[in-house]
Symmetry: C2
Subunit: 214 residues, 2 copies
């Protein structure tokens, strides 16, 4: 049963629980990047033998999954009330904040955001308000996906390997003859790539669009 209480986290052994392991792994990733997460390295960090890790986790993929869960569960999504618009806004901001807490994991978290339990609760809250306010099911599903997709794409760009400086340089290096429009707005183009102010402006525009569309 998926809904039964957690079995006290693989107890016994040496005090350590599975979520202790996940948390230690998360710290390691935050400190030294995703590529530093190795079975050997994590075991050393925990002061245990490498193979002992396999008592908490069947495989490295499962370890990574546990780390993603730990990261996703760290910041509990707020309880959102009010209109679909207010709820969407609150949850979009919270989701972005949650993603930004662990930049090294953004790319991985972006690929399986939907089925995590905490995210489904959020979806329920937003979709519920949308339906109550007259969205058709198709409109609600599409609208929710757009908001959610916007957050994902934004954070992905924001935390991407090509930082703002790289982007600025690349735009500045463009020959103005062939790229007149892009050159003339290069400042705004870089601004728009990051920052919560820009994020919120884009989000509000998107919510306006949805409001106008339904």
């Amino acid at each position: 049963m998926a809904s039964s209480a957690e079995p006290s986290e693989v107890p016994g052994r040496r005090g350590l629980t599975r979520s202790d392991v996940a948390r230690a792994a998360l710290e390691l990733v935050d400190r030294s990047g995703l590529e530093a997460l190795t079975m050997r390295g994590l075991a050393a960090e925990l002061g245990i033998g490498t193979m002992t890790l396999y008592g908490y986790v069947r495989t490295k993929a499962e370890l990574v999954d546990a780390v993603l869960d730990a990261a996703a569960g760290e910041l509990a999504p707020p309880q959102a009330t009010g209109s679909w618009r207010e709820r969407s806004r609150v949850h979009a901001l919270a989701f972005r904040a949650s993603l930004l807490r662990h930049p090294a994991l953004v790319a991985l978290r972006a690929r399986q955001p939907l089925l995590r339990r905490s995210q489904l609760r959020v979806t329920e809250e937003v979709i519920g308000a949308m339906l109550a306010e007259g969205f058709t099911p198709a409109e609600a599903a599409a609208s929710f996906r757009m908001v959610f997709t916007y957050v994902l794409g934004s954070v992905l760009v924001e935390t991407g390997p090509e930082g703002l400086d790289t982007a600025r340089d690349a735009l500045a290096a463009l020959p103005p003859e062939s790229f007149p429009a892009l050159r003339s707005i290069s400042e705004e183009a870089v601004d728009v790539m990051a920052g919560s102010t820009q994020f919120e402006a884009g989000l509000d525009a998107l919510l306006n669009g949805i409001e106008a569309a339904v």
Copy 2:
């Protein structure tokens, strides 16, 4: 000079060029997945010694970069004319199609889409039309980013590791008491995750929103 002609692709050696290597690597990735791209494996594929690869590519990261370039350059973006809206639509569809040709690379391509040369040409075309039609620089930058981000997020979800079946099962397994809204629209929620029809519907809604906002 970035604008000078390419130096005939590291000539000499054994007929092979750097882009031959990249193309072979791309085929390998398409056929067997990203994890199959190893220096040893690719060399075997090409019938050369492993170390010979280092004549075409300084490091594995550089090889991956060359593969991403090959994938991005494969489908030349169409020449788009007309309004900002028509151009946005054409380029969004083309970008999606380009991403979908190599699903194994979507996650990597999603993280550095901006600075690739072909993408900058697209950006120029769309931004140019937006400015010509009265967008402010800030509006143009934000609007372009939203469209672009939408494509990215859509394809990411569409090609994500949790396929449609997984999503369907997960939604079906939700207790209806706690997730009434989500359960009642589960069909639409799954539909909206994939398919070009759904993609275009969402895109049009987004373009409508932008149109209304500026």
